[in-house]
């Protein structure tokens, strides 16, 4: 066993001042210790989901690592104050940059994220576990043991309390996870700096420690300054490609990425289309229905503010009026002004036949008496109760009132492969309001096998010809779209009534299974 050098005993200054200083350090150290744990657990919940699992495994691993640290502290000898300062600096830098590093690692997909995550948790936990035993040993010479234990542990728990209250109320919402981590890193470094000053006369290698402290603080301050940029960088990696546009509207977050000639639109992180294969999705959405209605002149599009469905609709010379109702003005403005997007949608939204309305689709339908020959319903999937109402019997009844005699509507209906029961629930819902349905599907590589349901008061017959210039559909293959393989074929389903909203529950179950 090495000889312990506990230098405080020879200090000429009043012992109580040193004690107080060390106890304040304990308070800060304890705060920092808990802060790293909370930051890491929150980050893991944010990136991986399932917050109960993340919090419980990370807190468990962290506490275990602290135990390991406490046990290892018996092997730490020599100049205790010097060791303490070294450990503070190590905790500060490692703990401070843990969130930044982990986020960047996740975004860049460097190696197995979970392993990195728990390695970081263990490393920080071990270092934090070393701190308190060391402080107690430093103070040991001056305070009676039972006072020592009571004071140090009391302050330790107080520090934890302070952070556990500040973290959810102030730190996480206002500073963000990365900056919170770095802030506590700085606090650890500040404790090191303070200890350096207090014990300056008893430290043999003061200069080395001084340099290390300065460097750590500079690093952490630098990190603090560029945290915003780092987060942007990580977001760019997360989307894999260059972000060419991003905007947070009152309704949603729009992000457009480009990689070579592939443009992709994400709404709230969900892929809406890839320019590589969107023609498959939109041709399949519009033409089987519209081509079967040779006299259709008035067309309504609900959702679909990207104008891609409208581009397909404008292929029909007999269509003389297209009304597009999309909630978000930012979306329709973007897709009628940005050159790389108007190239994609053929400048459809600026066509004189097209009338763009920015309103809630249902409010507009409730307030408006117009009827249409063909209606395209291109809403987001029924992933919430608010969206589920747009796939309900009540909504389809409302929609039917806007359908001209002989008219037809088509509903984008999620994937009959990934969410088979959801898909057939949508068909059953349309049937329950007295419509005859024709469900079909098409393969869109970036989405997988995708489903649609055509519905009208009269039975549907597949069209014999399509407009010129289609890249996906041919009259010959169209009947195949209406045939379902065994793994997508019809299953019994209850209609989606507003008072049950069984579709929302089904959809969640089925897609949850897919993303697992």
């Amino acid at each position: 066993m090495q000889r312990e050098v506990s230098s405080a005993g020879e200090d000429p200054r009043p012992a109580s001042l040193l004690q107080q200083a060390l106890l304040v350090s304990v308070f800060i150290i304890a705060s920092c210790g808990l802060a790293y744990e909370l930051v890491t657990a929150s980050l893991a919940s944010y990136l991986l989901g399932d917050s109960v699992t993340q919090f419980s495994t990370i807190i468990g691993a962290y506490l275990f690592a602290m135990g390991v640290g406490s046990w290892l502290s018996r092997y730490v000898g020599g100049n205790l104050v010097q060791r303490f300062i070294q450990i503070e600096l190590a905790v500060g830098v490692l703990g401070g940059f843990a969130a930044v590093g982990l986020y960047l690692a996740f975004a860049a997909q460097m190696g197995p994220f979970r392993i990195l995550l728990y390695l970081a948790v263990l490393a920080v936990g071990i270092l934090v576990g070393l701190e308190i035993p060391l402080v107690m040993r430093i103070l040991k010479g001056q305070v009676a043991f039972r006072d020592l234990v009571s004071r140090v542990l009391a302050v330790d728990y107080l520090g934890a309390l302070a952070v556990s209250l500040l973290f959810p109320l102030f730190l996480a919402p206002y500073l963000g996870l990365m900056r919170t981590g770095l802030l506590f890193g700085l606090l650890n470094a500040a404790v090191a700096l303070w200890a350096l000053k207090l014990f300056q006369t008893h430290l043999p290698k003061r200069h080395g420690l001084g340099w290390a402290t300065t460097l750590s603080i500079a690093l952490l301050l630098g990190g603090f300054a560029v945290a915003g940029k780092l987060s942007d960088m990580a977001e760019r990696w997360l989307y894999a490609d260059d972000i060419v546009y991003s905007e947070s509207t009152p309704y949603q977050r729009l992000v457009i990425t480009r990689w070579r000639d592939d443009l992709r639109l994400f709404i709230n992180q969900n892929l809406q289309f890839s320019s590589k294969d969107e023609y498959r999705y939109h041709e399949a959405l519009v033409h089987p229905g519209l081509a079967s209605l040779p006299r259709a002149g008035r067309v309504l599009v609900l959702g679909g503010g990207d104008g891609l469905a409208v581009r397909e609709i404008l292929r029909y010379p007999q269509v003389n009026a297209v009304t597009l109702v999309d909630l978000d003005p930012a979306m329709t403005h973007l897709f009628s002004t940005a050159p790389f997007l108007t190239d994609l949608n053929g400048n459809a939204l600026n066509d004189p036949k097209v009338h763009v309305v920015n309103d809630d689709a249902v409010r507009w339908l409730e307030d408006n008496p117009e009827v249409f020959d063909f209606v395209v319903v291109d809403f987001p999937d029924p992933s919430s109760y608010a969206l589920g109402k747009l796939y309900s019997t009540a909504f389809y009844r409302l929609l039917t009132r806007h359908l001209a005699p002989g008219g037809r509507l088509v509903v984008q209906s999620t994937s009959p492969y990934y969410a088979r029961r959801s898909f057939w629930t949508i068909a059953a819902t349309l049937e329950s309001v007295g419509l005859k349905t024709a469900p079909y599907h098409a393969l869109v590589p970036s989405f997988g096998e995708w489903g649609y349901v055509l519905a009208g008061r009269e039975a549907y017959r597949v069209p014999e010809r399509y407009p010129e210039g289609l890249r996906f559909l041919t009259p010959a293959m169209t009947p195949d779209l209406f045939r379902f393989s065994a793994d997508m074929d019809r299953v019994p389903a209850e209609p989606n009534r507003l008072n049950e909203q069984n579709l929302v529950r089904l959809f969640e179950q089925e897609w949850h299974g897919v993303t697992r």
Binding site: Y385, L498, N499
Partner: protein, 542 residues
């Protein structure tokens, strides 16, 4: 070591970090019952102060424009009998089912839902069929209902231990043994639901007029719901909270005072179903205000508001004389009515009737009424979702003095929900009714607003920043209290029998302030009068 100083310092630092200073209260008004006019009834010689300038003769005079009075009028109108007049003390009719509206939405000022009616609730079913909400045969086992009025999913959730859970019965973080106990409780309620007396009728029918007269279960009326639960060995904290919640919600009264018979009735009476609709209620943005609006449409201006009956007297062989005054002051009217349907709260009778017979006076004496607060909060956007179950129509906070809130815009179909109105309910069940009414008169709008925002902030940390307006509505005598001993004492027979040419028709007759009861007694009064007059009834609903 100055540990105390250190602690104090930490405390001060923590406080400095938190106290941004509470934001100022949102604007709003204190509204509700017309205390002044109501209390004029108490003063002796009230009718002489107003002065009577006119005498009017009328076939049927209906006193009270709440659900009972409007239902009576609806029944007369349905029989094409139009020689009637409804008098309502307040500025608007509707009683406990009144509603308000602002730029965001209509919202309830009182009752906010109607359970799907039982087959025996023929009045409610006929009414809903008349309004087109019940479609097809009103006597069908599972009628179809207009789904715009069926409460959309998710219907209700409970905030407990920091998490919102589906439904109102505490289930998350509850032990297996307690869950089993809850199962046993609901199983026992199901047995009560099916239980029939020797006359073949259900014990716990709704309306009560259809209940069995068998006295086998009358013992349940001799102890409180709380004591009954203890007696049956129910000890779970969550179940006790839930049952007390139900009693406060439907009766405005703590379950330590509610008769076990009434407490069980709450759980055992309802068996209404609809096509594709179980365990669901009928509601609208304005709560039950939509029913008042539909009733009023049928009554083509024969409802006079701001009119109070000050004196009522009847002599054999003569029309009933009713002297009225205007709530705002001003000359009254002397009505000579062939029949009167008294559809106002029954506790007013002794103050209005000269020489009220003892048997009625005695039957009324034990009656008391629970006061309520209903607050409407306008929010710039939906309240934050919080952990767990998503925002529902009815959102309840565990261990709250209030009963939670309903969301007025819940029935809208919208992609972006936008601003909303929350209606917060607070029975003053922790006080006896008299002190509670004193508190109601003394507490200011700001007092209530502080308390309500503090309560809701437990679940919605940022709600103060979202609320742009908070109106408080007071109900002084909202609900009859079904106390121990009042449910099976034969009082109902006394109160519902003919008293000369006057029929008492109010939820108070049953001692339960429920839509089903009020509408039953109102329609029954109307039908009795119609049949006495020899008018063709075509149907008997009550």
């Amino acid at each position: 070591m100055q540990r105390r100083e250190f602690l104090a310092l930490c405390g001060a630092a923590a406080l400095a970090g938190c106290s941004k200073g509470a934001p100022p209260l949102p604007p709003g008004e204190l509204g509700g019952m017309n205390f002044k006019a109501g209390h004029r009834l108490w003063s002796p010689g009230a009718e002489s102060q107003s002065g009577i300038e006119e005498t009017r003769q009328v076939g049927v005079l209906i006193v009270g424009g709440g659900i009972a009075g409007l239902s009576a009028a609806w029944r007369l109108e349905r029989a094409a009998y139009r020689d009637f007049q409804v008098l309502e003390l307040e500025d608007v009719a509707g009683g406990n089912s009144r509603s308000g509206a602002n730029a965001i939405s209509a919202y309830p000022l009182g009752a906010h839902y109607l359970p799907l009616p039982n087959p025996e609730a023929r009045v409610v079913r006929a009414m809903l069929a008349d309004f087109g909400v019940l479609q097809g045969d009103p006597n069908a086992a599972n009628p179809a209902y207009d789904e715009t009025y069926l409460c959309h999913a998710p219907q209700e959730r409970l905030y407990r231990q920091g998490i919102w859970q589906e439904g109102l019965v505490p289930r998350l973080g509850v032990s297996r043994a307690e869950l089993d106990e809850q199962g046993r409780f609901f199983q026992q309620m199901e047995t009560f639901r099916q239980a029939r007396g020797r006359d073949g009728r259900r014990y716990f029918a709704l309306p009560l007029a259809h209940a069995s007269r068998d006295t086998a279960l009358d013992g349940l009326d001799r102890l409180s719901m709380h004591d009954w639960m203890r007696r049956e060995g129910y000890g779970g904290e969550g179940l006790h909270w839930y049952v007390n919640y139900a009693c406060r919600d439907d009766y405005g009264t703590d379950y330590r005072q509610v008769s076990a018979w009434a407490g069980i009735h709450y759980f055992a009476c309802r068996m209404g179903h609809g096509q594709g609709a179980d365990d669901v209620v009928l509601t609208a943005p304005e709560g039950n205000g939509w029913l008042v609006k539909r009733l009023m449409e049928r009554l083509s201006g024969r409802v006079q508001t701001g009119q109070m009956a000050l004196r009522l007297s009847q002599r054999p062989g003569k029309p009933v004389e009713v002297l009225t005054g205007q709530a705002a002051g001003g000359p009254g009217v002397r009505y000579l009515a062939e029949h009167v349907i008294w559809a106002a709260p029954l506790f007013l009778l002794p103050r209005v009737v000269e020489g009220l017979p003892d048997h009625l006076g005695n039957a009324l004496a034990p009656l008391s009424h629970a006061p309520w607060i209903v607050a409407n909060l306008s929010l710039s956007s939906l309240p934050g979702a919080g952990a767990g179950a998503p925002l529902s129509w009815d959102n309840v906070l565990y261990d709250s003095p209030g009963l939670g809130y309903v969301v007025a815009t819940h029935q809208r179909i919208r992609r972006a929900p936008g601003p909303t109105v929350l209606t917060y309910y607070r029975p003053l069940s922790e006080l006896d009714p008299r002190s509670a009414r004193t508190r109601l008169l003394e507490a200011s709008r700001d007092d209530w607003a502080q308390a309500i925002l503090a309560d809701l902030s437990r679940a919605h940390g940022h709600i103060r920043e979202q609320v742009s307006r908070l109106d408080v509505f007071r109900h002084g005598h909202a609900m009859a209290r079904p106390l121990v001993g009042l449910m099976r004492d034969g009082r109902r027979d006394t109160l519902s029998s003919a008293w000369g040419r006057v029929w008492l028709a109010h939820g108070d007759v049953s001692g339960l302030s429920l839509f089903e009861e009020a509408s039953h007694w109102g329609v029954r009064g109307a039908e009795q009068i119609l049949s006495q007059q020899g008018a063709p009834l075509h149907e008997r609903l009550a």
